[in-house]
Amino acid sequence: MAIIEARDIRKVYGNLEVLHDVDLSVEEGEILGLIGPSGSGKSTLLRILDLIEPPSGGELSVFGTDTVAERSRWLDLRRRMGMLFQRPIVFNASVYDNVAMGLRYRGVSGSDIDRKVKEALDAVGLSRYIKSRATDLSGGEQQRVALSRVLVTDPEILFLDEPTANLDPGSTATIERIVADLNREAGMTVLISTHDLAQGQRLAHRIAVMIEGTVAQAGSPHAVFHEPGSRKIAGFVGVQNIIPGRVVSRQGGLTTVAAKDRRIISATPSPADEVFVVIRGEDISLHRREPGYEEAENLFPARVTAIESMAPFVNVTVDCGCDLVVLMPARRAEALEIHVGMEVWVSLPAKVVHLVPQNGP
């Protein structure tokens, strides 16, 4: 049974609808990555799931409790969860008192607080600052204080709202490692929102994509990144090729789509007549001459029209009747002596050609 089950969640601030029709379930023990552009409602959704603020409508069950019906249990439920925010938040008190806050709210005895706070500060390497004023620490140190403040309360569900957005790579790695360890060793359920796609892929077992106030797609990282559910999701997860086209034939599980002057074969069952062809740049192979043997269903001659460095990769744009962007390692592009105007061949298997309806969400 899901540890969090949200249905039709809606949130309105004044006249502004921030969330609508949000359906999401979180399984116990998983790390769920919440990705989406800024302003898509990730932070608001996390606060609603953590019972910091109530939704304007919908159903929400946490730990199997119907939170709409049982408002009186919110505090108890909330005390089984914890949340780390994007901006490092510390209070104008000592580091010790900062970390002790959650425990004091829970009425934990003084000696237990003492022991737990010291352990927690040891774990994040801040023991020497225990008596310092928390506001005097650097941003990265403050965020570590904030993390230990959450972790001393042993939350069963941990919410992380873009926790590393403002941090240096070292602090980011530390926090990612702690989160991954907690999940693996203590079975802590983790919801992490991020706009760092790589972080989402690194950490999450499952990813939910938020677009314009709703969860547009939830699934495995592979599904989300390679089979995005709509043009907008495809754009957000960084798919280089999103080409409008029209289905011309369906045959034996293969769909043929006319995109400009080129016909592309896809293994996706056709969702509509008017579609977008969605292809990740790294799924396209580029050859100096026509390959002698090629399993891929699609093989086209093409001419290089542009090269854009994306160190350590390059985006090579080719014209094969329609424009395609090929992502390849810079070293390989060098080895192939790719240059603008060069005549090449591109190949791509039908199974990497994903189709989404043009009139879809």
Partner: protein, 324 residues
């Protein structure tokens, strides 16, 4: 931030309770604060405090401080003087905010008594108003009578004679009342002919001391009681131009606030103090005041039967009845 209703309402009740307690505290606070007065002088409130509205001219001479020192030592009564103009002092008494008044404007005093607010008036002492001005006397009024002098100043002022100016208290005080009476006797309607008649007439709206300082700065004439002038004389270039004219006689009286109008005034304290003022001891104190500092007394105590005849026409010896 929303919590369950029970906790929320419990919090509300707790805060309201605290507020109610606080309100209770502050309600009683002023009373408590009055009693343990931090200064040594005053066990305030009730029968041990006598509040007296008086004139700035009396306060500024230092006479009141002297009376207070002696009377408080003898009786333990805390005398509290509120220095205002005579008109304002009488209004304060009309509202029952003080226990008696010590003033010097016979016409205003009579009004106050006729209205039933003031009882047991006793005249205490007198001195003279003086007309002070610059040594060179630009309006040439020396040796005139007071009324003549006022007329001369007005004519010179309205003709824009250089150097001629007059500063008025303008605060409805006893001195101001005297000044208005003199303009009237000189043949002017104060409101229509003197006020706003030109730059020569300066309406200060201040106490006697301030008015003297202002007149000094402007090298102008002004009407002052003798006591205040003497106590300020060493800081002023102004000199007395006309003094001891009978038209300038200045009589001080004490009047108690009628306890029938305001039962919560200290009527007994007021009667006691008036009786002390008209006692030989009080009169001697008043008569001696200023001898050391100024070389001459600032006030002349009134004795019977002199006080009952003109120009005083007042009661100065008969003790006032002490209320139970």
């Amino acid at each position: 931030m929303k919590m369950n209703v029970a906790i929320l309402s419990a919090g509300t009740i707790a805060i309201l309770f605290i507020l109610a307690l606080l309100a209770g505290c502050t309600g009683t606070a002023p009373g408590e604060n009055v009693t343990p007065n931090v200064t040594t002088t005053a066990p305030a409130a009730g029968a041990n405090v006598l509040k007296i509205a008086t004139t700035t001219s009396l306060e500024n001479t230092g006479l009141l401080a002297e009376l207070e020192r002696v009377y408080e030592r003898e009786t333990g009564m805390d005398l509290q003087f509120i220095a205002q103009g005579t008109g304002q002092a009488l209004d304060t008494a009309r509202r029952g905010d003080v226990d008696l008044v010590l003033v010097h404007a016979p016409a205003l005093e009579k009004e106050f008594e006729d209205e039933g607010y003031g009882i047991d008036p006793r005249c205490i002492a007198y001195n003279y108003f003086i007309i002070v001005g610059p040594e060179d006397d630009p309006a040439k009024i020396r040796n005139m009578s007071a009324v003549e002098a006022f007329r001369t100043i007005a004519i010179a002022g309205m003709n824009n004679t250089p150097g001629v100016a007059f500063v008025s208290r303008g605060d409805n005080s006893g001195t101001h009342a005297q000044e208005k009476a003199l303009w009237k006797e000189a043949g002017y309607n104060y409101t229509t002919e003197i006020l706003d008649s030109g730059a020569w007439y300066v309406d200060a709206g201040k106490g006697m001391g301030d008015t003297l300082i202002l007149a000094d700065e402007k090298k102008a004439y002004t009407l002052s009681d003798e006591g205040t002038y003497l106590s300020f004389a060493n800081r002023l270039a102004l000199v007395p131009i006309i003094s001891e004219s009978t038209e300038l006689m200045n009589r001080y009286s004490a009047i108690a606030v009628n306890p029938a109008k305001y039962p919560n005034t200290n009527a007994r304290g007021a009667a006691d103090f008036i009786n002390w003022l008209i006692s030989d001891e009080g009169k001697q104190l008043i008569g001696d005041f200023g001898k050391v500092e100024f070389g001459k007394p600032l006030f002349v105590p009134l004795y019977a039967p002199e006080c009952t005849g003109p120009p005083f026409n007042c009661t100065c010896a008969e003790p006032v009845p002490t209320p139970a």
